[in-house]
Amino acid sequence: MIVIKEAERTYHLGDEDIHALDGLSLEIKKGEFIALVGPSGSGKSTLMNVIGALDSLDSGSISVDGQDLSKLSDSGKAMYRRKKVGFVFQTFNLQARLTALENVELPLMLDGIPRKKRRDLALEALSKVHLSDRVRHVPSELSGGQQQRVAIARAIVNRPEILLADEPTGNLDSKSGEQIMKLLKSLNEQEQVTIVMVTHNEDHAAFAHRVLHMLDGNISHTRNGRKKEVYG
C-alpha cells in the first residue's frame, strides 16, 4: 500500500519555479494497476520517481507498506529499489554491451546474489517475458519490443511488489506496445504486482484499474479504467 499525503516537489529552472507536485495526495492499494495520464510537465514522472525513491519530497509524505521513504538512508533507498520496486523506462535503458541475460542479472548482482542463482533467476524472468530464445543477444540484436521485454524482465527479476513504468510503450509500434501491455496486465493479475504506469496512449491506459489525470502537479480527475473489451 502506497500512501502519499500533501506531496510538494518544486524544481528551480533559472528564475522559474516548477511545481512538479503541488499538494498531491494519493493512495494506491496493493495489486492495483494505475495509469497516469496528462500533458508533459504535469508531474507524472516526478510522482513515479518519488514512489521509486529516486526523488524525494520537499514537503508532505510518502510511505510504502508503512515505511516512510524520507526516513531511508542512501543505502536504505537502494535496498528499497532493489527489493520492492522495478523500473521500466520509455527508452529501455539496457546496457548496450551486456547480453539480455546479463542485463537482467544486474539487479541480482547488485543484491550480492551468487552467480549460479542469479543466472537461474534471470532465465526464469526472461521466460516470463517470452524471451528464452534470445538470452545471449545484446540489445542491438533485439527489436524494440524485445528490448522492452528484457527491461521488464530486469524490473521483475527481484520479484518486486511495485512496478514503475514510465511510458513503456512510447517508443514501440502498436503491435509491440500491445504485447507489452498484455505482459504488464498478466504480471498484475497473476503475480499481484502493483503497477504505476505513465502513458499517453488512451488504449493502454484502459488496461489500468484507475486512470489518474494529472495537471500542474496534482490529480485533476480520476476515472475508472478497464473497459470491458480489454477483458473480452
Binding site: L54, Q95, L110
Partner: protein
C-alpha cells in the same frame, strides 16, 4: 554487490574505450618502469658493493676497534661551534681524559688510544665462542712475480687476515690444503690473466714478493688496516746508500673472483708479521710482541654465535661491527639512492595519475545515464564509487605490471649486453664492459620491487580515482536518467 563482481565489472569497463585505456596505461607504465629500473639498478649496485665487503668480512667475522671517538679526538665536535677560552684549561686536548701525554714516535696521544695491542688481542681470543682473532694488517710489496718468470706485477696490498676470512673468500679456484700453510697467498684471478695462465695452473705456483726495508713501522695514516709498531729505539736513521731489499717466497693457495679490489691479496697474519718485521728492520719476535693495530678481526666458532660474541666484545668496552651491520649500512645507502632516483618515476606517475583522473571523469560523462539506471535498479552510492575506484586501480595495476615486464626485459637486455657486448659476426660494436665481472648484474630484479611498484601504481591510481568516484557516486539518478 560482491567484491568479485565489483572487480569483474570494473575490469570489463576498461574495454569500453580501448584506446583511452591503452593511453592511460602507457602513461602509468612509464612511471612504473622508471621506478622499477632505478630500484633494480640500485639493487645491482648494492649487491656489487656487498660482494666487495664480503672480501674482507663474512657472516662469521666481527671487526673490533678501540672505543675512541675520532671526531672528538680530532677536535671536531658536530654542531659544537667554537668553545670559550679559559685560562685554566690545558693547552693540549686530552680526550681520553686520563692525563697521559706520552705521545710516542710522533704519534699523537689520541691515536695511541685508538690502537689495539697484544693484551687486547689475548682478551678477545679468550672470549667464549671465538675461534680466532688477529690484527688486521696490510703491507705493500714492491712487486709480485712468478718464481720462474721475470715479469713483475704491482700488488697494492697484502692483508694479513685470520683463516676465517681467507677460507671464505669467493674463490674461482682454490687448493684447500695449501690454504692451511703459513706462506699461503690468495690473489685476485686477474693475476692469472696478467700472467696468461689458467686459473687452476696458477694455484700451487710459487710467487715472489719483494720488500724494501724502510724502517717504517706502518703508522702512516688513518685507514683500514692501518697498523703500527712503535720501535723502542725511536728515531733510528737509515744509512746512506741502497736500502735493504729481499724477495720472499709465497705459494698461491687460491684465486678469488675479480672485483673492484683486483690488486689486493690475502696472506696469513704470521706471514704479514714476517714481512712487516723486515720492512721495519726489527727482529720478528720483538716486532710481534709490540704489535699494534687499529682493528682486530674476530672469528666466531660458528655463524649463529656471532651476535652473542659481538655483545660480549662490546661488553668489554670495544667498538665492534658484524658483517650484517656493515652490509646493513651499505644497504641503507643504496636503498636511499634507489628511492631518490625513483623520483623521476614519481613525477611520471604523478602525470599518469592526472591522466587517470581525466579518463575517469570522461567516463562518468559518457556513462551518466547508465549510472542512473544502476541506481534505479538498486546500486548504492558506495557501489558506484567503488566501481570507479576499482577501475582506477585496474589502470594502475595494469600499468604497473606492464612497466615491470618492460623493466625485466630491459634489465636483462642491459645485463646481457654489458656482459657479452654487441657484435655482428666478427665485428664487435660494443665491448662487454662487465665481461670481467661475471657475477655482477647492473639490474637486479626482485620480488620486493614487484610488490612495491604494484603497490605504488595501484595506490597512486586509487588516489587519482577518488575524486571521479566521488563525483559518480553523487550523481542524482533523476538527472542522470533524463540525460
Amino acid at each position: 554487490m560482491k567484491f568479485y563482481d565489483l572487480l569483474a565489472t570494473s575490469f570489463r569497463n576498461l574495454f569500453r574505450q580501448k584506446a583511452r585505456t591503452v593511453l592511460t596505461v602507457i602513461s602509468m607504465m612509464i612511471g612504473a618502469f622508471l621506478i622499477a629500473i632505478m630500484m633494480s639498478v640500485g639493487n645491482g649496485l648494492k649487491q656489487f658493493m656487498v660482494s666487495q665487503v664480503t672480501l674482507f668480512a663474512n657472516t662469521s667475522t666481527i671487526a673490533v676497534q678501540a672505543n675512541v671517538d675520532f671526531a672528538q679526538a680530532f677536535g671536531m665536535s658536530l654542531g659544537g661551534g667554537v668553545a670559550e677560552f679559559e685560562e685554566e684549561s690545558p693547552q693540549v686536548q686530552d680526550p681520553a681524559g686520563e692525563g697521559q701525554n706520552d705521545s710516542v714516535n710522533g704519534v699523537p696521544d689520541f691515536l695511541s688510544e685508538a690502537f689495539l695491542d697484544q693484551e687486547d688481542l689475548e682478551k678477545l681470543q679468550e672470549i667464549d665462542g671465538v675461534s680466532e682473532a688477529a690484527f688486521e694488517t696490510y703491507v705493500t710489496p714492491d712487486y709480485i712475480r712468478l718464481a720462474e718468470d721475470e715479469s713483475p706485477k704491482l700488488l697494492i696490498s697484502m692483508y694479513g687476515v685470520p683463516s676465517g676470512i681467507r677460507d671464505r673468500v669467493k674463490f674461482s679456484s682454490v687448493d684447500r690444503a695449501l690454504l692451511e700453510r703459513d706462506d699461503a697467498i690468495v690473489l685476485s684471478d686477474s693475476y692469472a690473466e696478467a700472467w696468461n695462465m689458467d686459473r687452476e695452473d696458477l694455484v700451487g705456483e710459487t710467487v715472489l714478493v719483494r720488500m724494501t726495508q724502510t724502517g717504517d713501522t706502518g703508522v702512516s695514516g688513518m685507514g683500514m688496516g692501518m697498523t703500527g709498531n712503535i720501535p723502542s729505539d725511536a728515531g733510528e736513521q737509515e744509512g746512506p746508500g741502497e736500502p735493504l731489499r729481499q724477495e720472499f717466497e709465497l705459494v698461491v693457495a687460491g684465486l678469488f673472483e675479480k672485483s673492484i679490489f683486483s690488486q689486493i691479496s690475502f696472506i696469513t697474519p704470521q706471514q704479514s708479521d714476517i714481512l712487516r718485521a723486515f720492512v721495519s728492520g726489527q727482529e720478528l719476535s720483538e716486532f710481534s710482541e709490540e704489535e699494534q693495530a687499529f682493528e682486530i678481526i674476530v672469528v666466531a666458532e660458528d655463524d649463529d654465535q656471532v651476535d652473542a660474541v659481538d655483545r660480549r666484545i662490546e661488553d668489554l668496552g670495544y667498538q665492534s661491527s658484524t658483517f650484517d651491520e656493515a652490509v646493513g649500512q651499505i644497504g641503507v645507502v643504496f636503498d636511499i639512492l634507489g628511492v631518490a632516483l625513483s623520483g623521476f618515476g614519481a613525477i611520471a606517475m604523478l602525470v599518469a595519475s592526472i591522466g587517470i583522473a581525466n579518463t575517469l571523469l570522461m567516463a562518468i560523462y559518457e556513462r551518466t545515464r547508465e549510472i542512473g539506471v544502476m541506481k534505479a535498479v538498486g546500486a548504492t552510492r558506495s557501489t558506484i564509487g567503488l566501481l570507479f575506484t576499482m577501475e582506477a586501480a585496474w589502470l594502475g595495476i595494469i600499468g604497473g605490471t606492464v612497466g615491470l615486464l618492460f623493466t625485466k626485459l630491459f634489465g636483462d637486455a642491459v645485463n646481457f649486453i654489458l656482459h657479452e657486448g654487441i657484435s655482428i659476426g666478427s665485428a664487435t660494436l660494443l665491448e662487454g664492459f662487465l665481461a670481467d665481472y661475471p657475477t655482477f648484474d647492473v639490474s637486479v630484479f626482485s620480488i620486493g620491487i614487484v610488490l612495491l611498484v604494484l603497490g605504488v601504481t595501484a595506490g597512486v591510481a586509487i588516489v587519482a580515482g577518488l575524486y571521479p568516484a566521488w563525483r559518480a557516486s553523487r550523481l542524482d539518478p533523476v538527472v542522470a536518467l533524463s540525460r
